[in-house]
Amino acid sequence: MSAVTHPKQPAALPVGLLAAVQCIFVRDLRLALRRRADSLSAMLFFVMVVSLFPLGVGPEPGLLRSMAPGVVWVAALLSSMLSLSRLFADDHQDGTLEQLLLGAHPLAFLVLGKIAAHWIGSGLMLTLIAPLLALQFDLAADACGVLVLSLLLGTPVLSLIGAIGAALTVGLRGGSVLLSLLVLPLAVPVLVFGAGAVQAYQAGLGFSAHFSLLGAGLLVSLVAAPWVVAAGLRIALE
C-alpha cells in the first residue's frame, strides 16, 4: 500500500528500541502489580520452605547458623522456579508473544525487558525478605549483608537462565515440572557461589572470589541468555 491511496494514514511511528524495551518492562511490572497474588504466593513459598528446615533438622543454633546461607539460597532457587513458568505462558495464550515476534525490534531486547520485570517481581522481592529469614537462623548482621549482596548478584542470573527454560517449555503439557528439571542443573553454579560467598565470609575468608564469579556469571548470562531465549521462543512458536 502506498501513501497515496491512504493519505490520512499517519506514517508509522518509529518507536525506538529503548522505548520498546521500556514499554514491555513497564507493562509486565504493571501486570505483576495487578496480579499480586502470583508474586506473593512465591514469596510465601520461600518463607515456608526456609521455615521447614529448623523443624526438620532441629533448632540447634550452631547448626542453623552454618546452614542458613545454603537453606536461604536453595529456597530462593526453588521459589524463583515457581514463577518462571508464567513468564511467557500468559503472553503465549493471548497471542502477545506472536506480536512481539513479528515486531520490528530484535526479540532478544524485548525479552530482556520481560526478564528484568520478572526479576523485580521475584528475585528482588526474595532478596528483600531474605535478611528477615536469616535473622531467624541467627545469622550475624554482617553475614546477612553478604547474603543480601550475593542474592542481589545471583537472582538476576537465575531469572536469565530460567527464562531459557521458560522459552523452551512454553505451551507444553506439564511444562512447569519440566522447566525445573531443565533449569535446576544449569543454576547449580549460582547456588554454589552464592551460598559459598556467605559461608566463606562466616569462615573468616574473603568472599570477593565468589562475588567475582557471580558477577562474571551475571555478565555472561546477561549477554547470552536473551539471544538463547529469543531463539527458544522462535522454535516454540514456529
Binding site: 531459557i164 523452551l168 542443573p185 547449580v188 522454535i235
Partner: protein
Amino acid sequence: MQLGAVNWFYFAAPQRFYRLAGQLLPWCFVLASLLAVWGLYIGLWLAPTDAQQGEAYRIIFVHVPVAWMSMVVYLAMAGWAGVGLVFNSRLASMMACALAPTGALMTFLALWTGALWGKPTWGAWWVWDARLTSELVLLFLYIGFMSLHAAIDDPRRADRAAGLLALVGVVNVPIIYFSVKWWNTLHQGASVSLTKSPSMASTMLLGMLVMALACWAYCIAAALLRVRSIIVEREAHTAWVQDLARSA
C-alpha cells in the same frame, strides 16, 4: 557444486545414511568387543598391582574410559544438535537424539564405577566433590535433553528445542574436565595428560587407552543402531521405508 569438491551432504539424506550405518554397525560392534576383551585382559591380568591402592584400582580401566566418553558423547551430541539447528538437517538432529541415551548410560556408569572405587579407597560411596557433582549435573543435563525431547509432540520442534538446550549445557563440560584442577578436591588429578609424561606404568596406560577405544567403538555402534531405529520411525511414511518393511 564445484568439480571435485566433496559433497558433505551426501549422507545427510536419511535413506543413504540408514544404509551406511547398517554397513558400519557390525564392524563397530566387533571392534568394540575385541578391544574390550584385549583391554580387560591387559587391565585385569597383565597390569601390575598398584602400590597405594592395591587391586581396587583396576576399576580404572572401566571408570576412566566411560567418564571420558560421558563428556565426549555430550560434546558430539551438542555438535550434532548445533549442526541440526544451523543447517536445519533432520539427520543431524536424529544423531543428537540417538547419542543422548548412550551418553546418559556412560555418565551413569562413570558415577557407578566411581562409587565402587570410592568405597575401598576413600571409605565412602559418594562425596560432594566438584568432579562428582559436576558429573551428576551432566547426567541431569542428559535427562533434561531427553525429557524435553519427549515432551514435545512435533519431532522437528522437539529436535530444535532440545538442541538449543544441549548447546546451553555445553558450559558444564569444561567445568567437569577442569574441576580437579580448579578446586583442590578429594578426586585424584588426571592420570593421563597430553603435555606431561604419564604418572602410571605403561601397561596400565595401554590398557586404559585400549579400553577407551573400545568405549568409542561401542558408543558409535550404539548410536548408529539407535539412529537407524529413529530414521525408520520418523520416515515411516516414505516409500523406501515401506519397501524396506515389505522386503523384511
